[in-house]
């Protein structure tokens, strides 16, 4: 069965098991490897992408759910790494190993799209599902605020 979806603005027709999680369709079929596998159970957030602007966990989202919809991955967030979050992430040297950061950034991007000036509690709440084993959380908070143009007291 073939599934039509748009990924980062490009139309694709995939001949895959419709139950295949979107994560594996992106990684294995479309070779968009910026989206990461971390847990497979929506527990860590490494696989977060946007479907029609909403943050979803692609590891538990069957690819059929993206049928006819617009998927955005970290590769599509900006053409050149110029999204305010990407710039803030680099400026504050947020990443350590970097493996979780695409998911962190995509989650934060969905938050800022909805709430351009989030409170500290909203940042924590929004990113509660994104684990970072290296422990970069304090810098993640600062970078979200920086991207939002908020003071980091």
């Amino acid at each position: 069965m073939s599934i039509r979806l748009r990924v980062n603005g490009t139309e694709h027709e995939l001949d895959v098991d419709p139950e295949m999680p979107l994560l594996w369709a992106l990684r294995d079929v479309l070779t968009l490897t910026g989206t990461k596998y971390g847990c497979g159970q929506a527990l860590c957030g490494a696989c977060v992408v946007h479907i029609d602007g909403a943050a979803v966990r692609s590891c538990v989202t069957p690819v059929r759910r993206a049928e006819g919809r617009e998927v955005m991955t970290i590769e599509g967030l900006s053409p050149d790494g110029s999204h305010p979050l990407q710039k803030a992430w680099v400026d504050l040297a947020v990443p350590q190993c970097g493996f979780c950061q695409a998911g962190q950034i995509m989650t934060a991007a969905a938050l800022l799209a909805k709430k351009p000036k989030p409170t500290d509690a909203e940042i924590d709440q929004s990113l509660a599902g994104n684990l970072c084993r290296c422990g970069t959380y304090t810098r993640i908070r600062s970078a979200v605020k920086k991207a939002a143009g908020l003071p980091n007291e």
Partner: protein
């Protein structure tokens, strides 16, 4: 790409010279040396840059091309500690290169680089000067050519900004203009190379840019699972639930019926000692990851448990408590602790327990391998590329020279990825199916088949005299040792006892420490800061208990027990030697001046003396590990639901000379969170020999809301010899947390994780 064999790329240099460290330079072989690396520099490691043949190759680390491009190899693995952003800059500074014209490439697994094992917080502390010589040697050669062209003495020339300058006349020759002639020179002996004065290393100790930052935030960075080869298949492996178990019987019919599944391959069962062997089991090989996972889910398999099948970590906890109720091997003795305890006015005794832990790097183990034409090529996120390479060679029956091991970025390591069992799996499966294969561990695989951090029990007893002075210290320690993974060891090894036991400064006239027997029933491995975790937890908690027993301030008691400023001698320690993390005690003594300084500094920053007026509950701990001194203060509060929350933390480190201040600060921030994860939640339990936990639902890690609002990092300025960075921040965190919880609630937590006994 057409994969050349490693043989084509081998460098002509003797093994002996490699074993002498950078002896390859001294041996004068440098000019014939080809960079052994075909490592990836850019997005896809499958399109590797060709090794340049022109220009100056002073040694395996540095190449200067005629067009001016300087290529520097990072031979250590990047797992978040920032090694790729740090070591190449140190080499470039010695050379006088401008980082804008430097390309950093990742070194393959090759003995030509010397020790590549990215473990033990060793990448700066053990090779700081060696790497400087690598840059300085190339500089010396470029300067020699310039001096000759100008007919002046090399002493009149200086290398900076990617060029050589004649000081008197300000004539300039760019590095690129000198490279071809420099390549014709004999590589100078080490004695003929002079390191720059520290003041000329212009980036040393500065906040350096994060090399891979732009690739990481755009999704271009290549981790292990991101490598894709033409015709590559994916394997997911069903491993025996019990370490040392094996397949009794299986039926692959249903698995093979899953669309996309190609083959089911039985792997050889592991035998003791486990070493770096894969655990065996059944590999389900498929066109994609999803098909492989689905195939594994319907695999019909019956396991045989083997002799670890009765392991129960709860029952084992009781066994360890029984073990420490009896004497063990004395590893440290000063005075007569028994007599001193008998005479003491007050005796304080406490027992501490810690559980197994899993590493749980965000990137689960994974590796890609291709075995063809009598060669094997591997891409792996590995901390120890040379061991991975030799283990692969052994497993697939090839000479190591026929195995190429490319190192990708690691999505976290923490010690897990220095055990290459998962890399060997990829090679075995690739060989069995005759196609390139990626082995992908699921999170459940990672949590259930780790080389676990050991579980421990310790009994501490101290005697106080009538004035409250600590006059006796008696400590018994039991945990299944790492040695059990490599031989039939049942006592902790010298290395483990060297992590906060035999090297622990104590200004106490009578000390006895005993190492008690404990047999392992699962794979034991090292995890970020290793045995320091439980040793520091027990010691630093106990000193806090002593403070309360005598009604004194915990900081004052800690300073009193560690003692006055001094270099602590072996005689005072009461031991014949200390492992000292593989480095000399003369160069890296146990120095209480440094320990006292971090304690005084961290308590100053946290306003320790005002905590009662401010109504704050603070806990303190300090520990020397990997030759670095760290003190931590943790502040805890109760939230509206009566749960304990960590709201602020301070960490102060004296790590000697710092290469990259920015990444050092990042490592200390991360160490606090890592320490909080294990202090608050971390526990692996085993039942019937198998791991009970399976994923982040039950193997809990600290999340953003559970992280303090502020983690204050302070690094003591120093030009001393560099210590470790990646690990030493971890050990003081859990005891500081437990001490803070006591300050807040009056509940003394002697067993990790805290979630077992208090509401967190």
């Amino acid at each position: 790409m057409s994969a050349p064999t490693m043989q084509d790329l081998r460098i002509r240099l003797s093994r002996r010279s490699v074993l002498e460290g950078l002896g390859l330079v001294a041996a004068g072989l440098g000019l014939e040396v080809v960079l052994p690396s075909r490592a990836y520099a850019g997005p896809m490691p499958t399109s590797l840059p060709e090794v340049p043949t022109e220009g100056l190759r002073a040694n395996v680390f540095v190449h200067v091309a005629p067009d001016g491009l300087v290529t520097i190899v990072c031979h250590r693995s990047e797992m978040g500690q920032g090694v790729r952003s740090s070591l190449p800059v140190l080499i470039a500074d010695e050379l006088g290169a401008d980082m804008a014209h430097v390309k950093v490439v990742q070194g393959d697994g090759d003995e030509a680089y010397g020790d590549q094992n990215t473990d033990g917080s060793s990448s700066v502390r053990k090779i700081f000067d060696d790497l400087r010589y690598a840059g300085a040697t190339a500089r010396t050669m470029l300067v020699a050519v310039a001096a000759k062209r100008w007919k002046v003495s090399p002493a009149e020339c200086e290398a900076r900004d990617h060029a050589v300058f004649h000081k008197g006349t300000q004539r300039v020759l760019k590095f690129g203009e000198l490279a071809t002639d420099a390549a014709k020179l004999k590589v100078p002996e080490k004695q003929a190379v002079t390191l720059r004065p520290r003041s000329e290393l212009k980036h040393l100790g500065k906040e350096l840019p994060l090399l891979d930052g732009p690739d990481i935030v755009t999704g271009r960075a290549v981790f292990g699972a991101d490598v894709k080869l033409p015709g590559m298949l994916t394997a997911v492996i069903a491993r025996p639930p019990v370490a040392g178990g094996k397949v009794a019987r299986y039926d692959a019919t249903k698995a093979l019926a899953v669309p996309g599944v190609r083959k089911v391959v039985e792997l050889p069962a592991a035998t003791k000692p486990f070493l770096f062997q894969p655990l065996g089991g059944l590999a389900v090989v498929a066109d994609n990851t999803w098909a492989a996972m689905r195939g594994r889910a319907v695999l019909d398999v019956t396991w045989e448990g083997g002799d670890n099948a009765t392991y129960d970590s709860e029952a084992y906890r009781e066994q360890l408590l029984a073990v420490i109720s009896k004497p063990g091997n004395v590893v440290r003795n000063v005075g007569d602790a028994e007599a001193a305890l008998a005479k003491a006015a007050t005796r304080v005794q406490a027992t501490y327990n810690t559980p197994h832990l899993a590493h749980a790097p965000m990137e689960p183990p994974t590796a890609v391998a291709r075995v063809e034409h009598g060669t094997c090529e591997v891409w792996a996120p590995t901390q120890d590329p040379q061991t991975a390479r030799s283990e692969v060679a052994k497993a697939v029956g090839l000479d190591p020279s026929k195995v190429m091991l490319h190192v990708t970025l690691l999505g976290g390591g923490f010690g897990r990825k220095s055990k290459p069992d998962y890399v060997v799996e990829a090679a075995l499966v690739a060989k069995a199916v005759g196609a390139p294969v990626r082995v992908q561990w699921t999170r459940e695989d990672d949590v259930r088949h780790d080389y676990y951090h050991s579980t421990s029990a310790q009994r501490l007893e101290a005697g106080l005299d009538a004035s409250g002075k600590v006059v006796a210290w008696h400590q018994r320690i039991a945990f299944p040792p790492i040695g059990s993974t490599f031989a039939d060891a049942t006592f902790a090894g010298a290395g483990e006892m060297g992590q906060g036991i035999v090297d622990l400064p104590l200004a106490i006239p009578a000390i006895r420490m005993e190492n008690c027997e404990a047999r392992a029933h699962t794979r034991i491995g090292w995890l970020r800061s290793v045995a320091n975790i439980y040793h520091a937890f027990a010691v630093q908690s106990f000193i806090d208990e002593l403070a309360h027993a005598k009604g004194a301030d915990p900081r004052d008691t800690l300073l009193e027990v560690m003692g006055p400023s001094r270099i602590v001698t072996l005689k005072e320690l009461g031991v014949a030697k200390v492992p000292n993390y593989g480095q000399s005690l003369d160069e890296h003594p146990v120095d209480t001046t440094r320990l006292r300084r971090v304690i005084e500094r961290v308590t100053g920053l946290a306003r320790w003396d005002e905590r009662k007026q401010q109504g704050r509950a603070l806990g303190l701990a300090a520990h020397r590990s990997f030759l670095t001194y760290v003190a931590v203060v943790v502040s805890v509060v109760k939230d509206a639901n009566d749960h304990i929350r960590v709201d602020e933390a301070w960490i102060v480190a004296d790590a000697g000379t710092i290469v990259n201040m920015e990444r050092v600060r990042a490592q200390m921030e991360g160490a606090v969170v890592f320490g909080l994860s294990l202090g608050l939640y971390g526990a692996i339990t085993m039942k019937d020999g198998a791991t009970v936990e399976s994923n982040f639902r039950d193997y809990r890690l600290a999340r953003i809301a559970e992280t303090p609002k502020k983690i204050h990092v302070d690094i003591i300025p120093s030009d001393g010899r560099p210590g470790g960075i990646g690990e030493p921040g971890v050990p003081p965190v859990a005891p500081a947390l437990a001490n803070a919880v006591f300050a807040l609630t009056g509940t003394r937590v002697r067993e990790l994780p805290l979630v077992k006994s208090v509401k967190v």
